[in-house]
């Protein structure tokens, strides 16, 4: 018994033999399809399928299609194989095509707008829930989830110190080095202190840390809450009568809001140190002189603005991360899409809020010469 599927035409009779299975057909699929087409093109032929060793449904579909979706006139076949073909014959003739909607620009843009609005709505709802939780905690302070809060403070704060320090230091060195090259040309070496002080403390420190933290802690929060949704852990919490917003969302948001100003302070400090080192090597500006003149060049309001920004950025990042985490549907695609959305939205919002800060604090902390 040969295992190779074969087709022979003998005096008006088509004889099929061998293993007509998907695995056996694959190596010579195109030849078989052509041979079948040829054989079926002549009408009123006898099809002898009694020599078939095996006929699986893939082969049955192939035969059925080459017969033009109907039974041939003269078909000799065993009952077992006839059953397989009958299954194929019983399928509805026309498969319903998957609904395809044409792409229209207004529809697409409208969809985007609606999605943005629904996200905004969801974020406000989550914020409201947070306020209610806080009010509830004020009335019964015993329920404050201290353990989760401190765990989040450690995870998103203390553990972020090395990476923020490294990035801050390098940015400080780079800005100081590049500015020094320019300042030297004008003989305005001393202004390096103003440039570094204002730019790092007021602007770069908070924004840089926010971008890092959004990628680091924000994505982790979304993924964690998302997986808890997928594995129904969130539902398990609710059945135990534990509020998911109080136990899962609130500690994350409070933790990051509290941690961010601290990381901003740390990263700004390290960046300034990097800038000082570069200034010392490039412009021969001693560290002592730099530190002495820093408070004069940079009013303390800038530090407060920087820390305030850190506080707000931390809140925004955690709120957005938690919101997208709770939106995850139980499948892998949704998890990755929401994590991406969380990070992208968080960074965009941070920069937007930063612009608002710049506009509303334009008269504060800028030294008048």
């Amino acid at each position: 018994m040969s295992s190779i599927p074969s087709l022979q035409v003998e005096s008006g009779k088509v004889v099929l033999a061998g293993q007509w299975t998907l695995a056996a057909m694959l190596p010579r699929l195109t030849d078989l399809q052509l041979a079948l087409k040829d054989a079926a093109s002549v009408p009123n032929r006898i099809w002898d399928l009694t020599a078939l060793a095996r006929l699986d449904s893939a082969a049955a579909v192939l035969l059925w299609r080459s017969w033009g979706n109907c039974w041939p006139e003269g078909l000799v076949i065993s009952d077992l194989h006839r059953q397989v073909l009958e299954r194929v014959a019983d399928l509805p003739r026309e498969m319903p095509p998957p609904p395809m909607r044409p792409f229209r620009v207004p529809e697409f843009l409208g969809g985007l707008l609606l999605k943005a609005l629904s996200n905004l709505h969801g974020l406000i709802a989550l914020f409201g829930q947070l306020l209610l939780d806080m009010a509830h905690l004020l009335r019964s302070p015993k329920e404050m989830p201290w353990k989760e809060f401190t765990a989040n403070l450690y995870k998103s704060g203390a553990q972020a110190m090395p990476v923020t320090a490294l990035v801050g230091f390098l940015i400080g060195v780079t800005i100081s080095y590049l500015s020094a090259l320019q300042l030297k040309n004008f003989g305005a070496d001393l202004f390096i202190i103003n440039i570094l002080g204002i730019s790092i403390i007021r602007e770069l420190g908070p924004v840089l840390v926010a971008v890092l933290v959004a990628g680091r802690s924000g994505s982790a929060m979304t993924a964690q809450i998302g997986v808890m949704r997928v594995t129904e852990e969130i539902d398990a919490l609710s059945t135990m009568g534990i509020s998911r917003s109080l136990r899962v969302v609130l500690p994350k948001i409070l933790g990051l809001t509290a941690a961010m100003p601290l990381i901003v302070l740390w990263a700004s400090g390290v960046a300034l140190f990097g800038g000082m080192l570069a200034a010392m090597l490039q412009l021969d500006l001693s560290l002592i002189y730099f530190l002495d003149n820093l408070p004069r060049a940079v009013p303390v309001a800038n530090l407060l603005i920087g820390l305030g920004k850190g506080l707000v950025f931390g809140f925004v990042i955690a709120l957005i991360a938690c919101y997208f985490g709770l939106r995850v549907k139980p499948n892998t695609e949704s998890l990755s899409a929401n994590t991406t959305s969380a990070v992208v939205t968080a960074i965009t919002t941070v920069i937007l809020v930063d612009a608002l800060f710049a506009v509303f604090t334009r008269h504060v902390g800028v030294p008048q010469l």
């Binding site: 694959l26 699986d56 299609r65 299954r87 019983d90 498969m95 499948n331």
Partner: protein
């Protein structure tokens, strides 16, 4: 005598320092439905994973359809794997794909079938596991437990396998549904002439489906043969497992 579908010879599996299987041998012929029994932690699922080639035994050989799974020839390997289907315990459906796409996935991966052919095959498989064509649009998360298993079975059958491996096929189904599922697999087995190896704890499933039983204990197969013969074996595990139900199953 044709080539045995599954041939395990001298399998040793070692986790850390602990032997899971020691010099284990088993030969399964065409058309047999073998229930693999054993206590918790006796390495049933591990043995199944070795048959699939997901795990490599420390010693010994696994041959499927006469081809050694450690055969270096990639094409030969792939062809062997296309001849087997696996129903994972939790279904392992791709959660990002719809039911239709889940079943179509292995067919599309062959890269030589056209869409019309694939669509007909998918609808055929859906009909085989007694699901509606309209269920094809659903996502795995929207399915009930019983439907999930059926879709997983349809996907396992997509490539027209000759060997089907089942890991706890009825776990998590209520008795009524589990009986339906067993009947369904049994009917498909008779129709398609499948060889089945299944791991199960459920006596009903075993009674309804298996023609042969292999008992895994003491790191080896202590008994293998037709169901009624194995049940009379005098071994503490066998008597413990079947217990008072021994009569009922016969």
């Amino acid at each position: 005598m044709s080539v045995p579908v599954v041939e395990l010879a001298g399998i040793n599996t070692v986790f850390g320092r602990e032997y899971v299987h020691r010099d284990l041998s088993l030969v399964i012929g065409e058309g047999q439905v073998v229930g693999l029994l054993g206590g918790s932690g006796s390495g049933k699922t591990t043995l199944l994973r070795e048959m699939l080639g997901l795990l490599r035994p420390a010693a010994g050989s696994v041959r499927l359809f006469g081809v050694d799974l450690q055969e270096p020839d990639q094409v030969l390997q792939r062809n062997v794997r296309r001849r087997l289907g696996m129903l994972f315990q939790h279904g392992a459906l791709f959660s990002a794909l719809s039911v239709f796409d889940n079943i179509a996935f292995p067919l599309r991966e062959l890269k030589c079938l056209d869409e019309d052919w694939i669509s007909r095959l998918v609808h055929l498989k859906l009909a085989m596991v007694e699901l509606d064509a309209s269920h094809g649009k659903l996502m795995p998360a929207e399915l009930s437990g019983g439907m999930f298993k059926r879709v997983a079975l349809a996907r396992a059958l997509a490539l027209e396998p000759e060997l089907l491996l089942l890991d706890e096929p009825t776990a998590g189904l209520d008795p009524d549904r589990s009986q339906n599922f067993v009947d369904l697999i049994g009917a498909l087995q008779r129709e398609l002439g499948l060889t089945i190896v299944m791991v199960t704890h459920d006596l009903q499933t075993l009674a309804g489906l298996a023609s042969h039983v292999a008992v895994l204990a003491e790191q080896r197969i202590i008994a293998f043969g037709p169901k009624d013969q194995v049940m009379t074996v005098d071994h503490p595990f066998v008597t413990g497992f079947f217990g008072a139900d021994r009569r009922k199953l016969l």
